[in-house]
Amino acid sequence: MKIYKFKLVCIAICATLLFVQCDDDENGNVIVQETCDDGIQNGDEEGIDCGGSACEPCIDEIDFSGTYVQEDIMGRPGVNTVFSGADNVKNMFNTSLVSDRMSFQATFEETLEDYHDIYGDALGITIDYETNILGLDAPTFTTVLAQFDALQVAPNGQTTYYDPGTGVVLTGRTLADDVINISLTLMFGGTSGTRFDGNNGTPQLTSDGVDSGDRDFTLPFPYLETPITQ
């Protein structure tokens, strides 16, 4: 008896849903109420799934004209903010071509040495940049930073800014990569990578001391976490 009643209720509910949600189109097929993603032009749409009162405007009605001029640009993390120094140089860097940055190299090298001077002065000794763990001296390192400021992205193999586990370097930038520690090590780590690592009375300049905390880098596309909402 209970089962019989249950079936009746189910049939009634299903029938109600059918009549509320479905309609006949011109071909006599039963379709779901028109939507903006059903692949056909229906309702008051002006094209397939576009225009009308409910959908996005059709592409040929949207204005994509005009000229857009560069205001900001970024390749590797921190290059402009770390090495350009003066505000006017930062602005110039952002409005420059990647392929036309030779003039920034001298400024970058000067900035790099200034940072070493800060700690040399504090310690009462002379400290200059030392060829880094990649074997790049100051002119070459700052040339790479100034003139080749793009992320190198390998289509085949591991992509990482630097993975100390595999030794792979400069093949991309993942969300998890500790680009700050990598950059600091290249700037202050010297040939060993540990020159100013806070040990043996040295300043700690090769790590900022923070990791990614509770961030989750294992998510599917778009790979980034939902916003913090608190």
């Binding site: 994509f64 900001d72 790479v144 916003p227």
Partner: protein, 236 residues
Amino acid sequence: MKKTNLFAAIGGACVLALSIVFVAADHIDAPAVAGTTTDIADLYAFEGDNPNNTVLIATLQGPLTPGTVTENAAFDEDVLIEFNIDNTGDFVEDLVIQAIKRGDSMYFFGPAQPAQTGLSSEIATFAGYTAVKISTTDDVQTATNNGMSFFAGPRRDAFYFDFNRFNEVVSGSAAPDGFFPPGTADDFFDELNVLAVAVEVPNSMLGSAPPHVGELVGLTGLPAAYNVWVSAKRKQ
């Protein structure tokens, strides 16, 4: 208001740090773009879950405090976000993937050879496009088309960095100690958000990669690699 306060706080920190101030990866990197809708925060480029794909992510307008500042943050219809891919090794873009907001959607064009390279761009309307509804804090929208995936909307900032101590380090006020040890150091970006644009694209659409630029300075053994950068361009 919170964003204003945060910005004021950052500005205050900048004053304290005198002339040498670093602000994050590219967040608020220069006076002319700081606090504007063209201000790029970060660029990521990495192999997708599908190893035949590359993921390009640009974040902008960071940092955004949680709550109303994040909820009210919006892409600008006058700002073209452009991923640039150099696949010949001359640091001139051979392909672009462009993203621009119209209505409540982000329209993506490319990858396509741009009509012109350099500081000025036009939208590559001749190339195929895909529109994705811009996500909100609690409504995630993605679109897929022709093997590509697309997203635009607010996300948690993936960037981590003891920003405040960094300013002290480079201004000299942290000398001679330098950075704090783990546990004492503080990740400034831990609870902050950004606006993000993400594209996942099959490598087959990006052409062959050129020899790695590191070879020019004597770095050997590096794999062939595209040169990739992101630009934000404003309509004139």
